[in-house]
Amino acid sequence: MNKLTSAQLVQGVQDLPSLPAVVMELLSSIEQENIDISVLAKKVSYDQALTAKTLRLANSSSFGLQVKVATIQQAITFLGFQTTRNLITTAAVTGCFPSGLCPGFHDKAFWRHSIATAACARSLARRLRFNQDVAFTAGLLHDIGRLVLVTGHPQAYAEVLAWRAKEDAEWQDAERAVLGVDHVEAGVALAEHWNFSDTMRQAIAWHHAPETPGAGFLAAIVHVANAVVHALDLAGEDDELVPTLSSIAWDAMGLNEEAYLDLFRETEQQLEEMSAILMA
């Protein structure tokens, strides 16, 4: 197998299916507060499938609404702009990659892992008084580079799967051995292409190495959420493997066992409900 060059990686990213324009706008403005909400709500509502999925998410128990929302504008009123934006992004991203391209790659398991990591990161962020919406999106997208590789280079990725199964290795090691690049690099390339904020890009770049100086707290949250979700065995992969947990990231959470047991319960509950909506 010839290794991928960075030019091929960038080309692969550019060939990806694109997100609806309104979602691109949302992603690139994730930390901006001063956006014209009514214009945005209107733009989203032109996309019926996206609107329907977003509203189902908003009405799921994870968000604890006492009333049912029927429009994007209502969702913004009851959940706030940040959370609604988050749900629109989630609904769009989970539906934009083609599935079944690479034999042996389990799209469903990939999304179960991503959705669970998003839910777990959000719950962690709530306990740590960190921005929950940013944590959710970072959790959802932390491994998106794997989809970039699978979608752009399905045959090569099948070799990655075979290598990993043979060596019982971590994904990153298998990807580097076979492709010469890993899903972190591919994720960062996509984050640039999709104009993610710096914070989001950092979290994707450092979620396997949160102790790197300058990695940021979000990377630590995503790192711990990722390990928790592997340890809870939620994706449905036979050869599930718990990665090494960074003691620095773990310490930074500063939570006791009781808090973690609650976190485990919340993550499981939210995964089941959200995956039913997103993978319908």
Binding site: S61, E240, S246, W250, R265
Partner: protein
């Protein structure tokens, strides 16, 4: 909400479970809305309102409790790269202990 729910005794309900149906008292007053995520406080308060069973979303008491030995085997498998008692890998060790306590429903010190 269009998920299925099961009636489970209040005593078996745990924080984090989700109500699959609106909950009313004997007079028809709404106590909690459908879709609410239960908390310790709510469970205690429901006991005081005389509620004995709860409609819990996705609960499936028909599934027999997992065999603890099988649960332990599976945990040992997914943590296969981490030796117990490896001090250099203590954070993963703590996570493993917490997940074991969670899956095997061990009592934890408050």
């Amino acid at each position: 909400m269009n998920g299925t729910y099961q009636l489970i005794p209040l005593l078996d309900a745990r924080p984090g479970m989700v109500l699959g149906e609106v909950l009313r008292d004997d007079h028809g007053n709404v106590l909690l809305a459908q879709g609410v995520v239960l908390t310790e406080g709510m469970l205690a308060s429901l006991g005081r309102h005389g509620v004995e069973v709860l409609p819990i979303l996705g609960a499936s008491p028909a599934v027999p409790p997992a065999d603890p030995a099988e649960v332990q085997d599976r945990l040992d498998r997914i943590f296969r790269r981490h030796e117990r008692g490896n001090h250099g890998d203590w954070a993963t060790g703590i996570l493993r202990q917490y997940v074991e306590d969670f899956r095997l429903q061990r009592e934890i010190a408050p």
